[in-house]
Amino acid sequence: MGEKVLMKGNEAIAEAAIAAGCRHFFGYPITPQTEVAAYMSKRMPKIDGVYLQAESEVASINMVLGAGAAGVRVMTSTSSPGVSLMAEGISYLAGSDVPCLIVNVQRGGPGLGGIQPSQADYHQATKSTAHGDFHILVFAPSTVQETVDMISTAFDLGDKYRMPAMVLSDGMLGQMMEPVVLPEPREPDNDSKDWAACGHGGKRKHNVVNSLYINPQDLEDLVVARYKRYEEIKENHQMAEEYLTDDAEIIIVAYGSSSRVSRSAIDAARKQGIKVGMIRPITLWPFPEKFIEKHIDHTKVFLSVEMSMGQMVDDVRLVVNGKVPVEFYGRTGGIIPTPKEVLEQIVKLNGGVQ
């Protein structure tokens, strides 16, 4: 195991991607994500990689599509408004079955919004990234170490299922430093994708990477086949961490930064004897339904805590399906909820101060 070092979340994303064999980065600077690109601009030239600052996010994502179609491990990173600009390209990537990694270090929105941490892009990431029937894999780290470990998983699962993967971070996780052990570096693998349009010296039939299907039946068949893969992913790759859920009567559902705030609140509530725990989604798509389902019977109430006006709470309600109440608490616009605020919600749900 390597040495523990202190790294900013954003820098750790870049180093972890390089360790996972990524040698192609296309992006455009935006706060609070810029350290990812800055780090890549220093490292990539030293390891025969490509770092390219494009003229816009639209250009960046189309370069990602091109590189991905050629079969290399490729990524981009941006923050909220940048993902909106990339939306069309992400749909093309999904429609062309081209894997890639997209990092969103979320900031407050809508519009230019602000530059402070937010989780208001949950719906965008998990449901409506762009036009058409498709999903992308969405991972939500809560520590710098988990971010590092997740980058590799995101690349691997994206390659396995031939689809874009997103790591949904935020300004707090991107800017903070924590101890981290970097993974053993892997060599780039540019040859194993037999579908890639990468030149073949006339030795095989040429590959076509495309998202245009004029014949509706062809398109329906393709989308239906893709949704079968999605079902397989939902079955096999739901990830979540449970914290003190065994005896919990109140279960908080929170991911990323808001799960850290919630954890502090839960520790304080437990000291008051309140039976509260947490399910922390690690994959947001597929949403970890199984982890929630198994606790519905012994839980009196679920509480979704988010840095948004309430987005993930919709998914919690779909799973709980009216069997017990699902409440919401959130702050938005770049405000991080305090453990005290979340504790107040827990106490309220527990029937006030005992």
């Binding site: 202190l6 609070p32 530059i115 800017q175 903070m176 430093m177 924590e178 101890p179 850290r260 520790d267």
Partner: protein, 177 residues
């Protein structure tokens, strides 16, 4: 010591983030769990800067320090903004060369240290932050002296190694203050 939450505050350019980084690295050397969270954005360019450092034996929850055990205030606006957030029984360390106003809280320990003047008189202009770190170390004993020095070494990039001795000297002055 199980948990120690510190909030470093001051002007951008006083080395607020660096002070937090040295402390964070010292805690890492000590084998603790820790987090370091800076304020970011336009305030880093000459406005107010702050930096949250959490040190614990356990997993760190929220890395944003709202109620610090120790507040380091290197300018007046920061003292005024955060004074009332310090936990009762906590500590406020003030650079009294810059902040001339008294701390009004009576339920906290107040440490006034003439950090900027001490640094300047010893030919260490700009190292008031390290003088304060020395004093913070003395007040809290958050790590061993050896690990504090290792933390400093880890925080200074190799090409700036010539700055190591001055920072060490400033930390010693803070410990002796």
């Amino acid at each position: 010591m199980s948990d120690l939450n510190i909030l470093f505050t001051g002007f951008g350019g006083q080395g607020i983030l660096f002070t937090g980084k040295v402390m964070a690295y010292a805690a890492l050397m000590e084998g603790k769990e820790l987090s370091w969270l800076p304020s970011y954005g336009p305030e880093m360019r000459g406005g107010t800067a702050s930096c949250s450092v959490c040190i614990s034996d356990n997993t760190i929850g929220s890395p944003l320090v709202v109620n610090p055990d120790v507040l380091v205030a290197m300018n007046l606006p920061s003292l005024e903004k955060y004074e009332n957030d310090v936990v009762p029984g906590g500590t406020i360390i003030v650079d009294s060369s810059i902040v001339h106003k008294d701390v009004t809280r009576t339920d906290v320990k107040v440490v006034r240290i003439d950090a900027s003047r001490i640094a300047e008189e010893n030919g260490l202009k700009g190292a008031a932050n390290m003088v304060i770190l020395g004093r913070l170390f003395k007040e809290t004993g958050f790590c061993t002296a050896e690990n504090l020095d290792l933390g400093l070494q880890k925080s200074i990039p190799a090409k700036k190694a010539n700055l190591l001795d001055n920072n060490r000297k400033a930390i010693s002055l803070g410990i002796e203050s």
